[in-house]
C-alpha cells in the first residue's frame, strides 16, 4: 500500500507567541519547531503500522521552505521511507491543498493522511480541500483506522459519540487522538534518516484566497479573586451575582 502523510511544522507547544511587522507576522525568533503533533503522533505512526502489517511505502510531503527540512528529517527518523518538499511559502490552506493535489495527481497513493488540524493556525482545512480538489472521499477527526479489501474502516468523532464507517480507497483521512501512539525515534532511525531521499519539488504557484491582516493577543486576565476555602457560599454567590454564569 502506498501511503502519503502530509506533514506541517508547528511551534513547540510551550512556545511564547509574539508577533512582528506591526502585528502582521508571527515572530519565529527563538521558537523551536516540531512536527505538528497530529501529523506525527497519529497520521505518521498509523501509516507506519499499516505498512509494517501489510507492506508498501510511506511518503511524507510538506509544503514549505528549506526551514521545514529538520522536521521532515524527524519524520524520516520515525520511519517514513521518503520525503517530498514542495518549495513554497505556505500562507493559505487552499494554496497548500492545491500544491499537494498537484503532487498527488503526478503520483499514485492508496491512502492520504493529514492531521486534524495544525496547532498554529488551527485551520482543519487542508485535508478536506485536498480531497475536494482531487475528488476523493474524505472523513475528518478519525480516531481509529483499519485498512482491508481496498476499504478503510474508520471511527470518526461525532457530536455525542463515535461513528463507525467505511469508505473506498483511495481516500483522504484526517487523524485525531486514538489512531496510534506516539513513537520516539531511535538512534538507528536518526542515522538512517540522513540518507533517505528528500526531493524538492518546484511550486505549482496556485492562487491564495485568504490572508492574515493582523494578529492580536488576548487581553491580560485581571488578577484572580481568591476565595476562602471555608466559604463556598461566597463562591456560589459570586458565580451567580457577579459572573452571572449560574
Amino acid at each position: 500500500m502506498n501511503i502519503l502523510v502530509c506533514i506541517s511544522k508547528a511551534p513547540d507547544t510551550t512556545s511564547k507567541i509574539t508577533f512582528k511587522n506591526k502585528n502582521t507576522a508571527f515572530n519565529e525568533d527563538g521558537v523551536q519547531f516540531i512536527v505538528n503533533p497530529y501529523d506525527e503522533w497519529y497520521a505518521l505512526v498509523r501509516a507506519l503500522e499499516l505498512k509494517e502489517a501489510q507492506g508498501g511505502k510511506v511518503t511524507i510531503v510538506s509544503v514549505g521552505g528549506a526551514d521545514v527540512e529538520p522536521v521532515m528529517r524527524k519524520a524520516l527518523a520515525i520511519g517514513a521511507d521518503e520525503a517530498a518538499r514542495i518549495d513554497a511559502n505556505p500562507t493559505d490552506a487552499f494554496q497548500v491543498a492545491s500544491e499537494i493535489a498537484t503532487y498527488c495527481s503526478q503520483n499514485s497513493f492508496d491512502l492520504i493522511l493529514v492531521g486534524k488540524e495544525t496547532i498554529d493556525y488551527n485551520g482543519s482545512q487542508v485535508g478536506g480541500m485536498l480531497a475536494a480538489i482531487v475528488d476523493l472521499p474524505f472523513v475528518s477527526n478519525v480516531s481509529k483506522l483499519e485498512v482491508s479489501d481496498g476499504k478503510a474502516q474508520v471511527e470518526r468523532d461525532k457530536q455525542g459519540g463515535n461513528e463507525v464507517a467505511e469508505l473506498n480507497l483511495p481516500c483522504v483521512i484526517s487523524s485525531a487522538k486514538g489512531m496510534a501512539e506516539q513513537r520516539i525515534p531511535n538512534m538507528r532511525g536518526i542515522m538512517a534518516a540522513r540518507t533517505k531521499p528528500l526531493t524538492v519539488i518546484p511550486s505549482a504557484n496556485p492562487e491564495t484566497l485568504t490572508e492574515i491582516t493582523a494578529f492580536t493577543l488576548p487581553p491580560e486576565k485581571g488578577s484572580v479573586k481568591l476565595i476562602d476555602p471555608d466559604n463556598m457560599e461566597e463562591l456560589v454567590n459570586l458565580l451567580h451575582n457577579e459572573a452571572k454564569v449560574i
Binding site: F94, I119, N122, G128, A132, Q159, E163, V224, P229, L235
Partner: protein, 322 residues
C-alpha cells in the same frame, strides 16, 4: 449579501450549534441588506424545521435524500446550491460536521474559508473574520479575497436569537452521485452526560484527585450544576477517565461560560484547550499552580474538603432559587 447557512442535524434533531449559525447568517444578511436561506438535510419533523426557521429568515431548502453525514455528497449539495442560486457567503458550524464539509465546499467553490470564526465579519474595506489561533494564545484577522466567502462559526461564540420568522420549506433533490461513506454504526459515548463541546458549564479534574474512585464528587457537582465533565490529559492517558473527556491542545478545545478546574496544574497545553472559557474557577492545594494566573476565581485548598462544601453551598442556592 446572499447568505446560505448549513444546518447540521442527526437522528432527526437539529444541532444546537446550527441555531447559532443561522442567527449569525441572518445578521450578516441584515447588515448588508441581503437575504438569508438555510439548507438542511435528513429526516426532520415539522417542529424541528419550525424551530430552525425561527432563528433565520424562515426560508429553508431541505434535502431529505441523505440521513448520514457523507462529506463528499453534502459538499456537493451545498456547493451546487450556492453556484446555482448565487450565494455569496456560506456559513457552517465549526463542529465535526463542519470540519468535514466546509473545507470541501470551499475548495469546490474556490472560495476562501475561515474556520472557527468567533465574531461577525468586518466589511469595511474587505471582508475580514476573527478567529483564535495558536490554540487560543492569540487571535488573527483573516481577510477573504475570493468572491464567495465561507465561514465556519465556533460553537458558543455568539448567542442564538429568535426573530419569529415563519417557515417556508422548499424540498430539493439534486443528484449527488455515489455515496462515499457507508455508516455502519453509531457508538454513543458512555453515560447520559451532557455533550462536552456544547456544554455551557464544565467541571474538570486532573491528577490532583489521586485516583478514578474519587470522581464521584466531581460527577455530583456536575450534575447539580447541569454541567458536563472533562479531564486533563494524563488522567485520560492512565485510564482514570474516558478519552473523550480530555481537553487541551491535543484533546478537544472548549469555551463554556464556566470552567471549574479541580486538581489541575494548568500546564500551557491544558490551558490551550480551555482559555476561551468565559469564567474560570480553579481549586488547587498549591497557590503557585500556574492555573491561578488564568483564573477568575481561585480557591487554594484541598479538593477533598472544598468540593463537598461547594456542593452543599450549591444545593442550598439551587433550593433557594427553585
Amino acid at each position: 449579501m446572499k447568505v446560505l447557512v448549513f444546518a447540521d442535524s442527526s437522528n432527526g434533531k437539529v444541532a444546537k450549534s446550527a441555531f447559532e449559525a443561522v442567527t449569525y447568517g441572518k445578521k450578516i444578511a441584515d447588515q448588508s441588506g441581503g437575504s438569508q436561506t438555510t439548507i438542511s438535510y435528513g429526516q426532520l419533523e415539522d417542529s424541528e424545521l419550525d424551530e430552525l426557521a425561527s432563528y433565520g429568515s424562515g426560508e429553508i431548502l431541505h434535502y431529505s435524500g441523505d440521513t448520514e453525514m457523507d462529506p463528499l455528497r453534502l459538499a456537493k449539495l451545498v456547493s451546487g446550491v450556492a453556484t446555482d442560486q448565487g450565494y455569496e457567503v456560506i456559513v457552517f458550524s465549526h463542529d465535526y460536521t463542519g470540519k468535514s464539509i466546509a473545507p470541501m465546499t470551499a475548495a469546490k467553490l474556490r472560495a476562501g474559508l475561515v474556520t472557527g470564526a468567533i465574531d461577525y465579519p468586518k466589511t469595511d474595506g474587505g471582508f475580514t473574520v476573527k478567529k483564535a489561533v495558536f490554540s487560543g494564545k492569540a487571535f488573527a484577522e483573516v481577510k477573504i479575497n475570493s468572491t464567495i466567502k465561507v465561514i465556519s462559526l465556533l460553537p458558543n461564540s455568539i448567542s442564538k436569537e429568535k426573530n419569529g420568522a415563519t417557515k417556508n420549506v422548499s424540498a430539493i433533490s439534486p443528484d449527488l452521485g455515489a455515496h462515499s461513506v457507508n455508516v455502519v454504526e453509531f457508538k454513543a459515548k458512555g453515560g447520559e452526560g451532557i455533550n462536552l463541546t456544547e456544554a455551557e458549564l464544565v467541571v474538570s479534574a486532573g491528577r490532583g484527585l489521586k485516583g478514578p474512585e474519587n470522581w464521584g464528587m466531581i460527577e455530583e457537582l456536575a450534575s447539580e450544576l447541569g454541567a458536563a465533565t472533562a479531564c486533563s490529559r494524563p488522567v485520560a492517558d492512565i485510564g482514570w477517565r474516558p478519552h473523550h473527556e480530555h481537553v487541551g491542545q491535543t484533546g478537544i478545545a472548549i469555551r463554556p461560560n464556566l470552567y471549574i478546574a479541580v486538581g489541575i496544574s494548568g500546564a500551557i497545553q491544558h490551558l490551550a484547550g480551555v482559555n476561551g472559557s468565559k469564567v474560570i474557577v480553579v481549586v488547587n492545594t498549591d497557590s503557585e499552580a500556574p492555573f491561578f494566573t488564568a483564573a477568575d476565581y481561585g480557591v487554594v485548598g484541598d479538593a477533598f474538603e472544598v468540593i463537598p462544601k461547594l456542593l452543599d453551598a450549591l444545593k442550598a442556592h439551587n433550593a433557594a432559587q427553585a
